[in-house]
Structure formats: structure tokens, C-alpha cells
Amino acid sequence: MKVKDLLAHGFVAKALPDGDRDIDGVYIGDLLSWVMGRAQMDNAWITIMTNMNVVAVASLADTSCVILAEGVDVPDDVIATAEAKDVNVIVSDEPIYETAVKLAGLLSNIA
């Protein structure tokens, strides 16, 4: 499943510079070093953190997208930086657990 395919399922893109990127697995976490240590390349990363460092971590850890759950507000400068750094930023109005369950369903249907 590609990142852009999420948009047909209630997810909203805040930045989609690389929407054709494949999602392979999911990682959930808000502690950035923990994410860098445990997330795998191409994972969709679900978090509620919205500061600028999230963009850097997503870029360096090479996740396929960041999914900001719980309907959190995303600052404009974070969106602009994500566009510039080729980082896909998706938002979900649902809580983290429901977001993950939905993603699991979508990923298993494709697989």
C-alpha cells in the first residue's frame, strides 16, 4: 500500500511530497530516540509529537510517512519543512489505537 492510498480511508495529507512511497509495517512512539532505535525503514510512524524534530527523525530514520494521530494541530513551519525534506505528513482525527487498528486492516487487506 502506498502512502497516498491512505487518503481514500479518512486520513488527511498535510504534506505529501513522496506519496508513491510504499508502507511496510507500522511503528508507534513519541520518544524520538526510541523511534530511531526501533522503527524500521518504510514503516508508517504514528505519533502525537508535532515539533520540528519529528520531521528530522522521519527523514533520517527513513520512515514512509508520519501519521499524527488524535487530531493534533500541525504547525505551519513543520509542514513547510516536511515538504522541503520529502517527508510525508498525514493526520488522523482518531486516537492512536484506533488509527493503528485501521492501518492494520488496510495493510493486511493489501498483503
Binding site: L31, S33, W34, M36, M41, M49, L60, D62
Partner: protein, 141 residues
């Protein structure tokens, strides 16, 4: 290291939101050199953790990356407070970061462990009150 390609960066100590600029630039440079995404990822994360550490603890420093055919060396040098107990600092979960740093999502005590995890060797040269130099190597061959 005479044939090494060298990238040098000054890491700004005050600016938390711009932390990661050096690692992001290195990622770009390594991509242009045609290195594999897996190698680039390891180098980028290890260097970013080091960069963040210099911002959190040492008011910045310098980062030098040496690229040869066989390996990539990352050398991070600061004139910060030094590390009192390296063994303790290497343990997952140990952190001296403040609450404000933690509220940004850092300070999980995974920085040095991640640097070790993603590199083939990690050397820490530290003197309390004088500073720390960290040398990491990722083998290409």
C-alpha cells in the same frame, strides 16, 4: 585517510529546532554518492543522535564526516562538560536531560545506545570539564 571525502559542520548549540541540519545534509551528500539506503540510514541516525547530544549537553560543537571506499567515519567534538560515567551513559534509559528536553521527545536515554547500535565501532574520548570527542565508523566493505 588521504583519499577521504570530508564534510565539516559547525553544530549550533542554542538552536534546538534546527538540530539535525548537519545529519540531513550528510544524508543528502551520501545519497548523491550512491550509497545504499540502509547505510545512509545508519550513518544519519548515529550522527543525528550525536548532534542532538551536543545541542542538549555541550552548547554545540563540530561534526566531521570522512567518506572512503571502505568506511565512513563520523567525528563529533565538543567542549562541553564531558561524560562523568561512560558506562552508565551507555545504558539504555539513562539520561541527564532536563524536563524541557524530554517534552520535545528527547532524553529517553537512547542516544549513545543508538549510536552504538547503528555503527560498527564507537569510541568515546571524554574529559570532565573539558569536552568529548566521539568517533564512529560504519564499514562499507
Amino acid at each position: 585517510m588521504s583519499d577521504a571525502l570530508v564534510f565539516h559542520f559547525d553544530v549550533d548549540g542554542d538552536n534546538f529546532t534546527s538540530a539535525g541540519q548537519a545529519s540531513t545534509q550528510v544524508k543528502k551528500n551520501l545519497r548523491q554518492l550512491g550509497l545504499s539506503p540502509a547505510i545512509i540510514r545508519r550513518v544519519s541516525i548515529a550522527m543525528y543522535e550525536g548532534e542532538i547530544n551536543m545541542v542538549i549537553h555541550a552548547n554545540g560543537g563540530t561534526a566531521d564526516v570522512y567518506v572512503t571506499e571502505d568506511y565512513i567515519d563520523i567525528v563529533l567534538a565538543d567542549q562541553g562538560p564531558g561524560i562523568e560515567n561512560v558506562e552508565q551513559a551507555m545504558q539504555e534509559g539513562f539520561s541527564t536531560a532536563t524536563d524541557s528536553i524530554r517534552s520535545l521527545g528527547f532524553g529517553a536515554g537512547m542516544g549513545l545506545p543508538n549510536m552504538k547500535r547503528y555503527t560498527d565501532s564507537l569510541e568515546i574520548d571524554t574529559v570532565v570539564g573539558e569536552g568529548t570527542t566521539i568517533t564512529m565508523r560504519v564499514n562499507l566493505a
